[in-house]
Assembly symmetry: C2
Homo-oligomer: 435 residues x 2
Amino acid sequence: MSETFFASLPANTHTKGLGPLDAKARMGDITSQGWNILQEQVSLPVAVLSEEKIQHNLAWMQEFIDRYKVKLAPHGKTTMSPELFRMQIDAGAWGITLATAAQIDAAFAFGVRNVLMANQLVGKGNMAIIANLMRQDESFEFCCIVDSADNVDALGHDFAERGQTLRILLEFGIAGGRTGIRNTQQEQAVLAAVARWPQSLSLVGVELYEGVLNEEAPIRAFLQHVVERTQILAESGIFKESAVILSGAGSAWYDVVAEEFSKVGSHLDAAGHYALDVVLRPGCYLTHDVGAYHRASDRIKQNNPIAREMNFSLLPALQVWAYVQSLPEPGRAIVGLGKRDTSSDAGFPVVSGHYRPQSAQNQAYAAVVPAPEAWKIFAMMDQHAFMSIPEGADIKIGDMLSFDISHPCLTFDKWRQLLLINEQYDVTGAVSTWF
Amino acid sequence: MSETFFASLPANTHTKGLGPLDAKARMGDITSQGWNILQEQVSLPVAVLSEEKIQHNLAWMQEFIDRYKVKLAPHGKTTMSPELFRMQIDAGAWGITLATAAQIDAAFAFGVRNVLMANQLVGKGNMAIIANLMRQDESFEFCCIVDSADNVDALGHDFAERGQTLRILLEFGIAGGRTGIRNTQQEQAVLAAVARWPQSLSLVGVELYEGVLNEEAPIRAFLQHVVERTQILAESGIFKESAVILSGAGSAWYDVVAEEFSKVGSHLDAAGHYALDVVLRPGCYLTHDVGAYHRASDRIKQNNPIAREMNFSLLPALQVWAYVQSLPEPGRAIVGLGKRDTSSDAGFPVVSGHYRPQSAQNQAYAAVVPAPEAWKIFAMMDQHAFMSIPEGADIKIGDMLSFDISHPCLTFDKWRQLLLINEQYDVTGAVSTWF
């Protein structure tokens, strides 16, 4: 779908973080309102994306992926924003990774046609959604993952009844982890089930998710084990397409996965019987954060030769702005920002910028200034955050604060629209989310 | 707005927890699809509301409120669902409480005209929203709370410039708590500021939120202190309307607030100079839960004479259904339900029902059976839950599980539509949310 298409979609005029809009406004109309965050035309709290930083992150990750000669299918569950999917595909992504049938249905409706479902497809209602999309567009390229004979038989039976063929990846997992087969016995049981449905199921590769582990050594061992199994399975001729998909990588360890997978890629290629199609799935690079992914980036910067060469620099592109709402006692500010507005499961939002808007009482700041490091959110309720401040801090009710966030996925799902801004805090557009 | 109006609104056809719908489907069309949850016409995860339990809870709370001869303005931020607001108002609620200008804008768009904003109104963009609604409909009854001279001056100045009058409540708070004035000095400063804006501000009552406290004795002391201050202020003639609003009560302590406020209500009335308009604001009673509000209900049942008389019985009306997705190792099930689907900040969802649908491999259960108590969610990721199960548990991939939840507010905001179901799990309708 084109930029014009997205601009023509109706804006949600009954949601937060917007300025005044006609009830019939379209998404594209937001661009031309002339809103500026600092001039208070927009209701706070508001979630904003820095266009410049988004563009930077898009380009950085695509170049990283290109240098490893692998494919990128960013995990779309992070943002569930078709406008951002479009930007990712335009920047060079092969397709979009998604987690559920409903997410895929939404992405498809907005033009996404290459989807890796990094999840099991379970249940008749969900199978019906995927089958229906495959029927709607024969060029829809889709695969999902399997880790049990029961699920394979259910899929095989369902798609056989429909006369359709579903592409599947075998998922490898790790003891104490999430989904994925743990041992040879499970692998054999799943493959035996796959063999029962030669018409309706097509095994086209292997998948893993390394992000349930926290240490590099066991992650590398897991990756190497899966690569070895992939190689053995490929040589056994079990995969149905000449390009064997090998997919891994969340947003924290994509560099290590790129290293391990691309290392073996050329080796497998050398056999000449099949090509390896490595697909990496980081999602949070687009907005980055100041929490877990920021910590991951310190490691990547230090250890990954290509990231070092590229002068690693993902930038936090998603912020939420909110007002200081109350200063009820010394040392404490209450901010109009809650668990309804940002993630709170992986660290509280971190105040970054401070701006005093023009009012009868106050002269406006000339620019946004960095907020003192001592200002820290220490608790959150649904609609409020509690911030500790030193006594005598220069802070006033009505001051505007920008917050960096720690878990993009659980921030995006709290917004139905996010505003795009430039470096002057002008609103240059908006993106929608479809959760 | 009428039921017909809500039925005519476009359904969101690109969201989760739905069956197949035409792209142009209206909300009312969902009623006539003949979907049944157990027959898997609907994609899981799905959030469902039991119509019967919702009706029970609506009626129970309204009778409780009526027996205390007070008013109910349920906190609408819990659900942000205009269809549920309509049900609450039809059941007898005076109006709806809301937390932010954007929430009020949405509620107004769907017909809500009596609003208590249990929050400070801060910032030009937010003031503009409220001023605009007041201008659109002169019968719009609105008040918000103030706890600082700075905010009072900003409001006074803004509404004076607009030539409008804003109704405000003085908020009392507690040391170590959230917003609200802590002491006489702050009270005097706020009242002095209010006096500076006789045309644009109208002080009409007092507000508190007791839910930042956890113990009954300090809560009663706080309530009694505020009642005493209200009485003194009322006698001083500072309020601008003959009915003085006194508002409190979240979803955990509404019984204690009802007791304390109604006790003094008649006393204040006796003076003959003003009437006391007690407005209580519980929100979560509508769906109840199996977490904090369930624990609160044990206390209410034991201690509150009217609740005892009424045979206290709020029922958990909101559930999320999900599939067993993987059984990767003994003792562990992975369920297709994540932090994207239910609250996880106040206890994980609690599995309540278990159903095995019909498939090629399995005979369907005759009915939903209670899930064993030993099945417990112990971790959640964005799209997955980890459930511990005994070895050898009778559980299969594709089994359907219903989950009770622990924090309705942070579950509703993860759904754009929730389905209404009857006791046979037939889908009887849907409600929308506007966050």
